[in-house]
């Protein structure tokens, strides 16, 4: 029995070690070329925080209708002074699976390169990234149930009163895919974002929201009759991003405002961001252009993420340089002035 107990203890130890190893191995080989469930993504977020404690922290900033905690990853090098920030959200619409896949890829890329790539290092030094991999967690989870739920779009807040199908020329009684809620910002998920943006508006330089499909970069505003005050600049930045995207795998992304390129869609969070003063706001609609639509095959995850990464970085670098390069010039000028003054004073010492 002594032997038995020792064997028992050894067995338990072996199982614990194996479990830890298995857990570690499983987590370390996270596959960014596959679509992941909501649970897997939540676990991955925890792992990113655990593995990179000096640059990653998480924040819960709201609750979904089904009472899930809406969380983001805050990524950036620590600083004694308050930092400007970039916002990125993915998965507002449940069926756009490639969007959360991109958020995860983006996080992986910057965490994997900030120590060795000076450009990324500078970004993380000067900026914080607030990244929400799945905003509509309830909807995303629902779209995984089976093939009949795969094309769900909205949150899981039930519609109120009569639901009507918005179908060309036909009306029936069933719930619309894009039922907008009884009033502006009535969905808890949308409110969580707008509350956060509102609270951090002085910090936020750039708002990026990631969707599919269509291969588009959209600039504010969604209303046909209103233009953002820096519309020309936004178009320029958007076109540069589209050029960067095309250089990766040859895919064309069209650039413009929603009313021009797509359809009028007032009330979007991108417009809200621009309205409250976040100067650079863009919507990305990732691959493809309709052949696969929402159900983008997994073998396209990697190339889509690669090109979108270049597109997003094009915008982020522009925004960063606009805010920090001139500061760098000021610092350099001050340095030269100081050095020159020192030299003069030295040479004048007899």
């Amino acid at each position: 029995t002594m032997k038995g107990s020792i064997m028992g203890v050894l067995l338990v130890l072996a199982l614990v070690v194996q479990d830890r190893l298995a857990g570690g191995l499983e987590l370390k080989s996270y596959d960014y070329t596959k679509y992941h469930t909501m649970d897997e993504i939540s676990a991955w977020m925890n792992q990113m925080e655990m593995e990179n404690p000096d640059v990653v922290s998480s924040m819960i900033y709201g609750q979904t209708y089904e009472k899930r905690n809406i969380a983001l990853l805050k990524i950036g090098l620590n600083s004694t002074t308050p930092k400007k920030a970039i916002w990125m959200d993915c998965g507002i619409h449940a069926r756009e699976w490639i969007a959360p896949a991109f958020c995860q890829y983006f996080v992986k890329e910057i965490l994997g390169s900030y120590k060795t790539d000076s450009e990324v290092n500078t970004l993380l030094k000067n900026l914080d990234f607030y990244i929400t991999p799945v905003l509509n967690m309830d909807g995303y989870n629902y779209s995984w149930i089976d093939s009949t739920t795969r094309l769900w779009r909205k949150s899981r807040t039930p519609g109120t009163g009569n639901c009507t199908c918005v179908v060309v020329g036909i009306s029936r009684n069933c719930c619309s895919e894009i039922y907008n809620g009884p009033s502006a910002l009535s969905e808890p998920e949308a409110k969580a974002v707008t509350d956060f943006l509102g609270m951090h508006q002085n910090q936020l330089l750039c708002y990026l929201t990631i969707h599919s499909y269509g291969q588009l970069i959209l600039v504010p505003y969604g209303h046909p009759n209103i233009s953002a005050p820096n519309y020309d600049e936004l178009m320029e930045v958007g076109l540069a991003a589209a050029k960067a995207i095309k250089a990766v795998h040859g895919k064309s992304y069209r650039v413009g405002s929603s009313p021009d390129v797509l359809y009028a869609n007032s009330g979007s969070s991108r417009d809200f961001a621009r309205l409250i003063g976040i100067p650079y706001s863009f919507t990305f609609e990732l691959r493809d252009e309709g052949q696969h639509g929402f159900i983008l095959p997994e073998d396209q995850i990697q190339p889509t993420c690669e090109e979108a990464y270049k597109g997003a970085m094009s915008i982020i670098n522009y925004v960063h340089d606009k805010n920090f390069k001139s500061a760098a010039i000021t610092v350099t000028a001050t340095l030269w002035t100081t050095l020159t003054a020192l030299w003069i004073s030295r040479t004048n010492v007899i």
Partner: protein
């Protein structure tokens, strides 16, 4: 509200009209081994016409989805007329594509596919093409293309200046008894409309043979309330 005169090729009015021309192209030239997609709109213009309606003139390029990005682009021109009638009526398309008959022939694959499935014992039946991850077996690919071509008849017919349709997925395919040496297939397809972001379900009966191409014999709009039941917790 819509613009008349020259149109911005990357903006939606030109794109929607071009997609309509694509649906027309696919109804005439699509097959289990050929589906055309829009590559780019080069030039576009629109004008109101006397009879009431808007006519778009388009210059655009298309590619065969089967060949991927490696395939050549075909240059096409089209007139697309959206009628303005009380009740919706289908747009009218006149289309010309260069070198349409010079593209790689798929006659061999078509014949092999036809011979395989025209046999009286053939009872193809499948659901969810593709699956939720975008996977589709090689055997199902010609059926997906056939569904896409057949769906083009519906998408063409239902199109207006306020719609932009794609086929989101094939919910099911069920082979029916062959008739007049035609493969007979019943499809349930899910279409996606961009402006409304709605998913629309249609059941349809289509025939195909290498000689006669795709014909759609019956279509039935199906109400879609998949979310009436509560999901498991």
């Amino acid at each position: 509200m819509a613009s008349t005169g020259d149109l911005e090729p990357t903006h939606y009015p030109a794109r929607r009209a071009a997609q309509v021309a694509l649906h027309y192209l696919n109804t005439h030239h699509g097959s289990p081994f050929r589906v055309f997609g829009l590559q780019q709109v080069h030039k576009a213009s629109a004008e109101d016409v006397a009879a009431g309606g808007r006519k778009y003139k388009l210059d655009f390029s298309v590619t065969d989805w089967g060949s991927g990005s490696a395939g050549p682009a075909l240059r096409c021109s089209a007139d697309v007329l959206f009628p303005r009638t009380e009740r919706h009526s289908a747009p009218e398309v006149q289309l010309h594509c260069e070198a349409l008959h010079q593209i790689n022939s798929t006659a061999q694959e078509e014949d092999a596919f036809y011979q395989k499935y025209i046999s009286p014992d053939s009872t193809v039946s499948a659901r969810d093409i593709p699956d939720s991850f975008g996977n589709m077996s090689e055997e199902m690919q010609p059926f997906w293309r056939l569904a896409r071509v057949a769906a083009s008849f519906i998408m063409l017919r239902e199109s207006s200046e306020n719609t932009e349709f794609n086929m989101a997925k094939v919910a099911s395919v069920t082979q029916q008894e062959s008739s007049e040496e035609q493969l007979m297939l019943e499809f349930v397809v899910l279409l996606h409309d961009f402006p409304s972001q709605e998913i629309v379900q249609w059941k349809l009966l289509a025939s195909w043979s290498p000689d006669r191409g795709v014909r759609v014999l019956q279509t039935e709009w199906q109400p879609r309330c998949p979310h009436a039941t509560k999901p498991p917790n």
